[in-house]
Symmetry: C2
Subunit: 341 residues, 2 copies
DNA sequence: CTGAAAGCGCTAACAC
DNA sequence: GTGTTAGCGCTTTCAG
């Protein structure tokens, strides 16, 4: 009892094929299958049954073209500040998973596109103008703020995950990174830190904000802070962290990693070097990804509510698709106290 | 110098709008923009420049409809055997990331769809028949083998990640799970295990094969093996693992987790209970996800080469799109010896 | 080398 | 309630 074509009859590929078989017009079949307007119950049932029997499914491209609506949301991940960062970055992937959940719930499909803005400066407008998507979600601002602002000026149904800056026009959902950075530094300082090493790539706006927040706190307490550039590409991450932490480290030194991935790599490196965490050096991460609770010691970190963020993005996007105005939203980060700081 | 419309001239939305401005026909614009056939170099350059100046981009829906080709590959993740499993499952997400890399390289976009087969038995044919995609990649067979086989009979450009069984018709790329299970059990047995606890949901074919392989090895050595059902949904995982490991555990007992996620949760639970790993109880995982090297002790696990798998899937899909025949491929798992077994 | 014309498969007025 | 008609925006013969 398969829902597909039961035998090798003349294949039914179009609405009018079906219409012919059913002895009605294509318009009626269209209406019947849409369940939409006032079609005679009997004819509708007959048509629907026929469609099932022949495994017929209306062509979405034709439908989209005609309706000027695709029911697809584009998801784009610009890999600008770090070409080699994997799209498989754990944070983005987690966010994507929740976006998929939220959009599926609303009846939208997802069109995923990975772009290298350095090689294609038209990346965003090209996607928007393609006609393939009703709206777009940008995951991460990378170093593409200008281009995003420009696009937002001409295209409403766009929501961006990232940092909210003064005067920024595009609709952004994200964590208060500056506050998060402050919370992290304060936690380390309360634990006795006199020198904080910040692990992360400050050329990405979100990371820059985290560093700025940490700097605020450090300066307020007369604590030194040093940025150590670390990229996120899987292949270089470990070596870079090792290199950056290959310095005399003792009591009073602490590490603020801009992401949990980085923090975990730092933990591994410190263990290798025989430096006790949190006894000698304290470590704090950022994100609170699922594995953060499972490291040893379990990672103290700044939590971003990824699921709430994803749902907020979709909510705003839907409102913008309806022509309403949906403002940016900044989510509060929270300190998750575990075993490393 | 933005590539978008420079001012508020009458907007250029269609090929013929641009044709009018350029003083040529729509056909010529189409050819010029496609860079395709023999268009006068001068006219082509003029048209391309005009298109840039007006921020014109051809509508992909119309193009797809006309060409009967979308340049989009559908990626579908059936969540059958575990409704609450997140799409954010770390393994699937990693695979997805690599698929995105491979497909982008070939000029394809990805259409992502998450489905609950239990609620929609037509999930696969519906996607295939939608006309939105040129081919489809199914990530994970879940408990949907029959439906996948059925669909494969009528639709060539489909590749599935999963387990390869005798007589299976659809093109599948995956790891030799049975061998992987065997390797895992043998490693534990060589370490002195007399009783292996298998953590995982045997109703998914891939996990069942891992269990079968482990059982082969255990029986061959006169070692006991007990399956402990654990789902993969993020919310239940921890509690279930805790419950399942809440039994007397001592020397001679060992744990084979069907995924690294499960293994890490087991590690955390054993630590909580004060059971030394690998001193008292040995633990081995499956997958070798990026974080596996970073746990403490670092996780011994069975490695699946996810990147190679993703590229193999895309390779086979491309061949099938070209009408060629691309057979299934079974990738060899490898034991990664680290600190837990 | 370029223009004209015919659709791709569907939907939505507008008739009846 | 249902049929008819006119496109959605693009590509591609077929002429010239």
């Amino acid at each position: 009892m398969s829902p597909t074509r039961t035998s090798d009859q003349p294949p039914v590929r179009t609405l009018s094929d079906l219409a012919k078989i059913a002895g009605v017009s294509a318009g009626t079949v269209s209406r019947a299958l849409a369940g939409n307007s006032l079609v005679n119950d009997a004819t509708r049932d007959r048509i629907v049954a026929l469609a099932r029997a022949h495994g017929f499914r209306p062509n979405q491209m034709a439908s989209s073209l005609r309706r000027q609506k695709t029911d697809v949301i584009g998801i784009v991940i610009p890999l600008g500040h770090d070409q080699r960062q994997q799209i498989s970055d754990a944070f983005f992937m987690t966010l994507l998973g929740h976006l998929a959940d939220a959009l599926t719930e609303r009846g939208y499909d997802l069109m995923l596109r990975r772009v290298l803005p350095d090689r294609d400066e038209d990346w965003l407008d090209r996607f928007i103008g393609s006609g393939m998507i009703d709206g777009v979600i940008v995951i991460g601002q990378s170093d593409q703020l200008e281009r995003i602002e420009e696009a937002a000026a001409n295209f409403r149904p766009m929501v961006v995950w990232g940092d909210h800056a003064q005067g920024q026009q595009h609709c952004v959902v994200g964590t208060d990174n500056r506050l998060g950075g402050k919370l992290a530094a304060e936690r380390l300082i309360a634990g006795g830190a006199r020198h904080i090493y910040f692990l992360g790539d400050v050329s990405a706006v979100e990371f820059a904000a985290r560093f700025a927040g940490a700097t605020d706190a450090a300066e307020g307490h007369g604590v030194a802070i040093t940025p150590l550039t670390n990229h996120l590409s899987a292949d270089r991450l470990e070596a870079e962290v090792a290199g950056n932490l290959d310095r005399p480290l003792g009591p009073g030194d602490a590490i603020f990693a801009a992401s949990d991935m980085l923090a975990v790599a730092a933990l591994a490196r410190l263990r290798t070097r025989g430096i006790d965490v949190p006894g000698t050096v304290k470590v704090i991460g950022f994100d609170d990804l699922p594995f953060a609770a499972q490291t040893s010691p379990p990672l103290t970190t700044i939590r971003q509510d990824i699921r709430a963020g994803a749902f907020a993005m979709v909510d705003r996007l839907m409102r913008r698709l309806d022509g309403a105005d949906a403002p940016s939203i900044v989510l509060p980060p929270t300190l998750v106290e575990r075993g490393t700081a």
